[in-house]
Amino acid sequence: MPTIRFRLNGAPTEIDTDPDQLLLDVLRGPLGLTGPHFGCGAGECGACRVIVGDHAVTSCDTPLWSVADKDVTTLEGLGSPEQPQPLQRAFLAEQAMHCGYCVAGVLVSAAALLRQIPKPTERQVREALDRNLCRCGSQNRIVRAVLRAANEAAVT
């Protein structure tokens, strides 16, 4: 088995496995993470999104080999209760979910957006999240939370 090396949430990581394995399976399987969620297995719903480099990608249809030597960030890598990322604070403040299953992928997509566009317009937020599906109807709260996080980050 070849060894694949990448940085996972800032930490150097290496794993000996079939490089054609799907990134989501590796993250949730041997690496034991639960931030990225399985939703469809076809890159359509976005529950499994992680940031690779600067872009949010669907890890359910991304082969492991394609992240070799790259930075991979999952929800676990955004922040912690002790040191929450502005987006996490904003999602708490806006109570921005119903069931919250899609939120792991949504937060990751939003984080990628704010890296690229620190002060997005509402339209830009909606467009950036268009590939994330939410079935409960929390979209407006989520958009408000992302805009709040952008404002907060700009102030601090």
Binding site: G39, M97, Y101, R123, R126, S138
Partner: protein
């Protein structure tokens, strides 16, 4: 005058033992154990608020316990917007009684009359420095006693938390990626299972070659029983690979024919049915009918389409005891059906709730639990997690039933309604497990010795009805007849989807009213108010209209529509105004709603539920329809079953009319009907087209144009 005999709230009467609801833990926490479950609706937080209020403790001390058949009160199913009514009232009453019991004990211990005692965050103090607490007294007070009807909950003015927007207690875990969902729960030695399901409807498994599946790394077992087949592997990826191999090695019989998707009304109206007269009203004096209007409205099959595939875990202890982890809405009901399939006494089955994604009704949560139990039999005592695929989730679970609704109105010479008739043709809207003598779990239909497929039924009107839910007019028409025709065949599996028949019926009633008002040249809000006597109904109608500036001056390409309903005729009042843009397609720009749930325990929770309901209803109206050809369901991915996306979601404004003196009812299903009708009526306002066949897509606009 006799005062009414006090009675226990519904759920408390069924589960009177106080200790089954509340326990004081040694660490200064209070354990609250409701029988209702969190499905993303925030119920657990609202219940924590109620308990903390009634016991006078900080909400941070409350530890909410997940429902389990091992310990929790049996509150049936978490559905029908009844959790606040059932669990909330029971908890409030139980806590009130517990508070009294502890005050009496504290009075004895402290030698102070209980009237002067005060409770602050669980510390009970009298005059001076004498204090005790729930936790000090807990050792000597047994709550293993039954609730009595006399306990008096606090007056509204004394409640500190109810009516305040509290932060939901489940959200931090979900924001910080802490394990909370069943999909993420780790058990020692966990194995992974997948089940093979046919592509064609109800096809039988004729032959299965297992060799390739057995060769997959980490393979544990193939399980086959009749047409039920599945694999168990060490890893999820392995289970997926083994399932793929199994699929290649499977041959199937032909399936059963599905209806013509393009003529659902003809199909629904041609089937054998059980007909029920739901309600009649006879006019006090006869009025002269000048003419009759008749319209037919159609709602398609709608998928629950949870964002997470259904998932369950099971672990056998020997051959006759099994523990099941599930996101089912009813742990006791699921246990009953598991007991029927397994032929095991219920005492040998424990069913425990873990959170899943939103389910919006009876989705495959229960089915996958039986799958897990069957596969775990081959796992030598190790736990097995089974997760459905996206395609199976969109294909093999029950759907919300398609409906054909014919509404007729006899009008007098001025165009006013003198008689109203409403007839529904639809499969039943309920086939939840645990209700009958036969199980309703999918795998039960697939076994070598199968159980008969349960044809879905309808709950009685007293429980809100099923296909007939919200079919009785809320308006003071002089005469009416309401009939429901429940299909006795069921080629497409149906069961409870959020609102049951209410979305279809409110769509029909509110659109037909809009049409009658328009023919009279009467404003639709004025028309409704003229026919509504209930002041709470009038208030939500006026509040929504006022907030939306009814009726805004029309602009080209824009339309406004109105819809109103009281969910189940006995629940939450809700009125909606839709603003849309229409040309070749419809875009919903804004929804303005007013809602009255009585006492809103957590107002932000109510707003969240109404917003979510309004957005989901918009998705149903503009996009959703289960697709099939004559052999199979074809809408088995998000591409083939599109739902509303972020950029398509309308702005939603919600006004909550707070009525602290009226017992609370649920909010989760109040918005769907009014929003559906408001959008359809706005389409008419904008384009002059009456679309009576959902969803309102481009092709349906063209069809309506051709009709008119």
């Amino acid at each position: 005058m006799n005062s009414p005999v006090p009675t226990l709230p519904f759920s408390l009467a069924a589960n009177p033992r106080l200790s089954s609801w509340i326990k004081f833990a040694a660490d200064g926490r209070v354990t609250v154990s409701p029988g209702k479950v969190e499905i993303g609706q925030g119920i657990v937080t609202a219940l924590a608020q109620i308990a903390a209020d009634e016991l006078d403790i900080d909400i941070g001390r409350v530890r909410m316990v997940r429902a389990t058949t091992a310990a929790s009160p049996n509150e049936g199913v978490t559905s029908g917007s009844l959790s606040i009514q059932h669990s909330g009232r029971a908890l409030r009453h139980a806590c009130a009684e517990i508070r009294q019991i502890f005050l009496a004990a504290a009075s004895e211990r402290l030698g102070v009359e209980s009237g002067v005692l005060q409770i602050e965050d669980g510390t009970i103090s009298g005059l001076g420095n004498v204090t005790t607490s729930y936790w000090e007294l807990a050792d000597e007070i047994s709550l293993d006693r039954d609730a009595t009807p006399g306990a008096k909950p606090k007056a509204i003015a004394e409640r500190a938390l109810a009516g305040q927007s509290a932060q939901r207690i489940d959200i931090p875990d979900k924001v910080f990626a802490r394990r909370r969902f069943i999909h993420d729960t780790a058990l020692a030695g966990l194995l992974h299972g997948r089940v093979l399901r046919p592509e064609h409807a109800r096809a039988k498994l004729a032959d299965l070659k297992e060799d390739a599946a057995r060769a997959v790394a980490g393979f544990i077992a193939v399980v086959r029983d009749g047409s039920f087949a599945g694999v168990v592997c060490e890893t999820e990826a392995g289970a997926d690979a083994a399932l793929k191999a199994l699929r290649k090695g499977a041959s199937w019989s032909e399936g059963e024919k599905l209806p013509d998707e393009d003529d659902l009304a003809a199909f629904l109206r041609a089937q054998p049915v059980e007909s029920t007269v739901i309600d009649t009203r006879t006019a006090a004096k006869s009025a002269s009918k000048a003419r009759t209007l008749k319209r037919q409205y159609i709602r398609p099959y709608i998928a629950h389409a949870s964002i997470a595939p259904s998932c369950a875990m099971a672990q056998w202890n020997g051959e006759d005891r099994v523990h099941v982890w599930t996101h089912s809405q009813g742990v006791y009901l699921l246990r009953s059906d598991l007991s029927l399939v397994l032929k095991l006494p219920i005492e040998q089955i424990t069913v425990e709730h873990l959170e899943g994604a939103g389910c919006y009704g009876h989705n495959p949560a229960d089915d996958v639990a039986l799958d897990a139990v069957l596969l775990a039999k081959a796992a030598s005592g190790r736990p097995v997690r089974v997760q459905w695929s996206r395609a199976d989730e969109m294909t093999h679970g029950p759907f919300g039933a398609a409906m054909a609704i014919e509404v007729e109105a006899d009008l007098d010479a001025t165009g006013d309604i003198v008689e109203w008739r409403h007839s529904i043709w639809s499969n039943g809207h309920a086939a939840r497990p645990g209700r009958g003598t036969k199980p309703t779990l999918l795998a039960g239909y697939e076994l070598e010795t199968p159980f008969p497929i349960a044809i879905s039924g309808n709950p009685p009107q007293a429980n809100g009805g099923g296909g007939d839910r919200n079919s009785i007019p809320l308006y003071d028409f002089p005469a009416w007849k309401i009939e429901s025709h429940r299909l006795l065949t069921m080629p497409v599996r149906t069961s409870a989807l959020r609102t049951l028949g209410a979305q279809g019926n409110v769509f029909a009633i509110e659109c037909f009213l809009d049409e009658i008002a328009a023919e009279r040249g009467e404003d639709p809000v004025a028309f409704r108010l003229r026919h509504l006597k209930d002041e709470r109904a009038r208030d939500v109608v006026r509040a929504a209209a006022k907030r939306a500036g009814w009726k805004p001056t029309p602009k080209a390409g824009t339309g406004y529509g109105f819809g109103y309903s009281r969910y189940k005729n006995t629940g939450a009042y809700c009125a909606a105004v839709a603003e849309i843009e229409g040309d070749e397609d419809i875009r919903v720009k804004k929804l303005t709603l007013a809602v009255d749930v009585g006492e809103a325990i957590n107002p932000d929770g109510v707003i969240n539920q109404i917003e979510g309901g309004a957005i989901q209803a918009t998705s149903w109206v503009l996009k959703e329809r289960v697709r099939f050809d004559r052999e199979r369901i074809t809408s088995n991915s998000w591409t083939d079953y599109p739902i509303l996306r972020f950029s398509e979601v309308p702005e939603v404004e919600v006004e909550v009319i707070q009525r602290s003196d009226i017992d609370p009812v649920g909010a989760g299903e109040a918005a769907h009907g009014p929003v559906t009708a408001a959008i359809a009526n706005a389409v008419f306002d904008c384009l002059g087209l009456r679309v009576r066949n959902l969803p309102i897509t481009r092709e349906r606009l063209i069809a309506a144009m051709e009709e008119s």
